[in-house]
Symmetry: C2
Subunit: 327 residues, 2 copies
């Protein structure tokens, strides 16, 4: 199987790539060819038996997607995006990458589908930012998408396109609304949600962390390991039971910032918790307040998607996967 990952240099893309290289497979399906694309050069992983190509690619250039599809990948995993904070600050860039880039990809697949019977699985990483206030405490699978950010708007539009293109038979698409990924390893990025990871990751490494919102804020999380599992399942599952609604809100863990902090205290003690410094930021709070707090995710659960059930588990996964297994 040939797998194309667009946005392969991002955190989730790198973890997915590492899992494919480790297993020689995506889930149960052997992978003999891997194309890694990103705006910055994706690292070519060592130890993969198949063919690997790493491509620097600007998806907002209409010529890019046809080039990426030259090897007719069987599975396309589209992770490339301008994150929420940046899409809100830079209107043009957000639409250029998140909307136009996605559409160019979908159209490039469509252009091939007509003549050769080419119909790849296309997994698009969408977001819970497609929902806007007012929101119930727990959101069901029938809830309307009424985003209040440009990022959420762009993701909601790409979902609609994916659904129509799949209905038309141009590709076999699934849009999966990932929870906020926590704990993100590495350095803070421009996402408004960055602090959800920062308040755990930095204290676990003995460093201070800023908390821009009150600890009563509740949000929806899954680990990077769960994200790799979501993408793998979406890329390899039978899509027949999904039906024409090709958008799935994935399972996750609903927790308040205070609950995150108590889990940190249980795992790493009061000293770690003391490193969290409240620094209220109205701009971050304004964005985060428009975000969902919890989902039922019944369709995705019935289709076999699985996430964590406690923040202690999420922190342990970070320690195992990022810190060599110990503090």
């Amino acid at each position: 199987m040939h797998v194309l990952i667009i946005g392969a240099a991002g955190m989730v893309g790198r973890k997915l790539t590492a899992a494919i290289v480790r297993d020689g497979a995506l889930g149960a399906k052997p992978v003999d060819r891997l194309t890694l694309a990103d705006a910055i050069a994706p690292e070519v992983p060592a130890g993969f038996d198949g063919a690997v190509a790493a491509v620097v690619a600007d998806i907002s250039d209409p010529a890019t997607a046809p080039r990426l599809l030259a090897g007719r990948p069987d599975v396309i995993i589209h992770l490339a995006a301008v994150v929420s904070g940046e899409a809100e600050q830079d209107f043009d860039k957000g639409y250029r990458i998140n909307l136009d880039g996605s559409r160019y990809l979908f159209d490039a697949v469509r252009a091939l589908s007509g003549s050769e019977g080419y119909c790849p699985r296309l997994v698009f990483a969408s977001s819970i930012a497609v929902f806007g206030v007012p929101l119930p405490d727990e959101i069901d699978d029938e809830h309307l998408t009424a985003p209040l950010t440009s990022y959420g708007t762009q993701k909601a539009i790409a979902e609609l396109l994916l659904q129509d293109y799949s209905r038309r038979g141009f590709f076999d698409g699934l849009a999966i609304r990932l929870p906020t990924i926590c704990i993100r390893p590495g350095l803070p990025n421009k996402a408004a949600s960055g602090f959800f990871s920062g308040i755990l990751r930095e204290p676990l490494a003995g460093k201070p962390a800023r908390l821009p919102v009150p600890d009563t804020v509740r949000h929806w999380h899954a680990s990077p390991r769960a994200a790799v599992g979501f993408l793998t399942h979406a890329a390899t599952m039978d899509t027949a039971p999904v039906g024409p609604r090709r958008v799935l809100t994935l399972p996750g863990l609903s927790a308040t910032v205070a609950e995150q902090i108590e889990a940190l205290r249980r795992v790493a003690g009061d000293k770690a918790v003391a490193l969290i410094r409240p620094e209220p930021d109205p701009a971050v709070m304004a964005i985060v307040q428009s975000w969902p707090r919890s989902f039922r995710a019944e369709r995705a659960k019935a289709l076999g998607f699985r996430a964590e059930s406690s923040f202690d588990e999420i922190i342990r996964i970070h320690i195992e996967d990022e810190m060599g297994g110990a503090l």
Copy 2:
């Protein structure tokens, strides 16, 4: 006030233009300038005291919208669209006109909004085709948009764009989901919904009409006169109470084809009804089955939008407005 109507040569556009010319105003607001644009030359109406320009315009050309906005219209009414049946048959044309055309317009307004404080009212005619099965008998204002046609997808995307652009302050937008307009005067068009009008209009004129679906099909209707009222209200109302959700499902009349036919019988007798010929068409039925049957439309009603309450009334309006007041 300067009013720009895009799609002015269509049925609703011509009726709206006629109302403005008749009243010298849009609702209570005097109109001294009218720009009429369409893919085919809009008729320049006689009897208007202000300035009128009729423009042949292809909205899928990015150069068109900036040209249409040169006179800085205070109100923009965007009716231009490829209809449902055609958008399903011609994938490229549907996306080019219904999605790209709308986005070029929104972006052209945005380009002006930055430098001059230009912020027109922009009314976009959306559609109940944004909803897809499974659907409840009566759809509320919180129902998700999950279209199962390319037309519905394109309208849903334009709604999302309008909402984001309005939130950003680029224009003061309202997307209104019009019921199926019934009775459409004139010749049949390519809309899959065309027969809802045909089975009344043709027999009222003594002509036979095809009925491609069973008479148990229930649908959601409003007259052309109501459509003009909707657009006028949307163009002139105070938008402050609308809030950030700039999409409104409008009120209408829910009726079965059998109820339409019984109203025809009451108004025009058995002879008219006998002119309706069942000719089942699976392609039309497949599209129509994915459409809604009834709405609550509570938000729009609370905001002052009004429709008809019986099909007898809808037929009488047709006889008054199209047939000189008598059969």
